[in-house]
């Protein structure tokens, strides 16, 4: 491993741990009995402040990015370059009238956005956002993350059902069906990482990837099974967060706004927040599982603070989300389901077998060749088989000619 002398320079070591040191310094003012609880409380406050702040920035970033893709400028009136737009949006949603439909189920209608945001926030508790920076180092951290993700589906249903609106209910049913289908893939593609690491603890998964050969890191995405797993994970994550091209539950042209049609004011803002937080947490998990978490991309860059790498990687994933939203058309419901059950799921199952092969073939170049060949062959064969019924060629217009 080639490391620069900067990596051991006390200034950069302290910069890397600055938030941990800050927490310890603040907690030091309290009597010893209260210290553990206060430490956890500070961690919770940090999560509750940082990620909504990131959400505010991302909304501007997204509108600017989409604007550029559509050849317009995007928000540019509030503050310099429209940067204060989220403040204006926040004030607007806080002061807006909260309308509840007359026949709505008031209690469930009220609870749905609250429970959604709470469960989404819980997922951040196990994500390692930097070296020694994880709120709870759980033995079964990955399982906890997915358990919290599963709870959000019920909130979406609660919102759609309690509104007493056909668009809301249709949107909720679409969302739940889609989330269940792709959650299987999300879980199975993560299982491959667990099989190699031998642990469900997220800090241990990052530690397993934080080694270098020469200057190159051992991230799981740089292995055949890791690349396939990451692609499947990314597809499932996009569907799980209802982002374009899988945004059927919110398809404006068909369903008004899907399950949150009947929400206004602050409750709508909570749904919006929950959606973006889910995007951050699922990108964070993808980063942790396949992209080496907080570890640096080259061994000579290890002096850069670990939290910069983590948030940098998460924001790169968010950029890809926005890019896809600006470029890809929406799928149809049957295409969505066929894609999930006939291509993504079988491929993920095959990837599990390949991962086991990788694990038991031992070191050497043989496993690289065998695993790559199996995955590429499966991709080509499955693609050919499923595309056989489609006839590609020049587009024929039935009525227009």
């Amino acid at each position: 491993m080639i490391a620069t002398p900067w990596a051991t320079n006390p200034f950069f070591v302290n910069l890397d741990q600055i938030f941990v040191l800050l927490r310890n310094w603040l907690v030091g003012f309290l009597p010893a009995a209260l210290r553990p609880a206060a430490g956890v409380l500070l961690g919770v406050i940090a999560i509750v402040c940082v990620f909504p702040g990131l959400f505010a920035l991302t909304t501007v970033f997204e509108r600017k990015g989409l604007g550029r893709i559509q050849n317009r400028i995007g928000p540019n009136r509030v503050g310099p370059y429209g940067l204060l737009q989220p403040v204006a949006d926040g004030i607007k949603s806080l002061t807006k009238e909260d309308i509840v439909p007359l026949r709505a189920n008031a209690a469930v209608h009220f609870l749905a956005p609250l429970v959604l945001v709470v469960t989404v926030f819980m997922g951040f508790a196990v994500l390692p956002v930097g070296r020694n920076m994880v709120l709870v180092d759980m033995d079964a951290g990955l399982l906890f993350f997915f358990a919290m993700g599963a709870a959000t589906e019920l909130c979406v249903f609660m919102a759609g059902w309690s509104s007493r609106n056909k668009y809301s209910l249709l949107g909720a049913m679409r969302a739940v069906a889609q989330m269940i289908s792709y959650e299987v893939v999300l879980l199975l593609s993560s299982v491959a990482v667990v099989m190699i690491t031998g642990s469900l603890s997220l800090p241990k998964i990052v530690a397993a990837q934080n080694t270098y050969t020469g200057v190159f890191p051992h991230w799981y995405i740089f292995t055949p099974w890791g690349l396939a797993g990451f692609l499947m994970y990314a597809i499932a994550a996009t569907a799980e967060t209802n982002r374009s091209p899988f945004d059927l539950p919110e398809g404006e042209s068909e369903l008004v706004a899907g399950y949150h049609t009947e929400y206004s004011g602050f409750k709508f803002a909570l749904f919006f927040l929950g959606e973006y937080l889910a995007m951050f947490s699922i990108s964070g998990l993808g980063t942790t599982l396949f992209l080496g978490g907080w570890s640096a991309p080259f061994s000579f860059l290890t002096w850069v603070p670990s939290w910069i790498w983590f948030f940098g990687k998460v924001m790169m994933s968010i950029f890809v989300f926005i890019w896809m939203r600006g470029t890809l058309p929406r799928l149809r419901q049957d295409q969505l389901m066929n894609f999930a059950w006939k291509f993504v799921l079988p491929f993920t199952l095959l990837n599990l077998l390949v991962t086991a092969l990788w694990r038991f073939m031992g070191e050497g170049w043989a496993r690289w060749v065998v695993c790559s060949v199996i995955l590429i062959a499966a991709y080509v064969v499955m693609g050919r088989l499923e595309m056989r019924s489609e006839h590609f060629g020049r587009r024929r217009y039935r009525y227009a000619e």
């Binding site: 759980m138 079964a140 399982l143 358990a147 599963a150 019920l154 249903f157 059902w161």
Partner: protein
């Protein structure tokens, strides 16, 4: 008798309230949401006993899958627009007797097992790793039988769903 922590009583009350609401509420969807509360209470009880794996699996399977399944079943069978006075079975006293009987047997079994199990003063530390080892080591045969059963159920579900397509339109 050891005294139990106040957290246990809170969680027990939450679980019981969820269970009672499930059988007493009139709207079927409300019942489904109440049973979710009971599931969540059970999961928290597992967590309170330091059984992380069981607790998270309970949330993932029961709240993430079983509750959703119940909700789908209610909506697909048009059960959500039932009469306002609810759907109470006329034979509920019989159900109560059976439930009390089951509770008595379970309670008796638990109380009788206190002497049979060696008393441990320290809580055994079971990691997820140990559970995984046990599942594919000692208990591999039951695991495979369950897997076979689930596969058969999945194939059965696919066949049931396919049947409709073969009908001439």
């Amino acid at each position: 008798m050891r005294t139990l922590s106040p957290i246990f009583y809170l969680l027990a009350a939450l679980t019981l309230a969820g269970g009672l609401a499930t059988v007493l509420l009139k709207q079927l969807v409300h019942c489904a949401l109440a049973v979710t509360v009971a599931f969540a209470g059970l999961a928290l009880l597992f967590l309170q006993l330091d059984a992380q794996f069981a607790g998270f699996a309970q949330i993932l399977v029961y709240i993430g899958a079983v509750a959703i399944l119940i909700v789908f079943a209610i909506l697909l069978t048009r059960g959500s627009d039932l009469p306002k006075d609810g759907v109470f079975s006329r034979s509920w006293p019989l159900g109560l007797v059976i439930a009390a009987g089951v509770f008595a047997v379970l309670g008796w079994a638990v109380l009788a097992s206190v002497g049979a199990v060696p008393q441990q003063n320290t809580v055994p530390a079971v990691t997820v790793h140990d559970i995984g080892d046990a599942l594919v080591g000692r208990y591999v045969l039951p695991l495979e039988i369950v897997a076979l059963l689930l596969t058969a159920a999945t194939i059965g579900a696919v066949i049931v769903a396919m049947h409709e397509k073969e009908r001439p339109r």
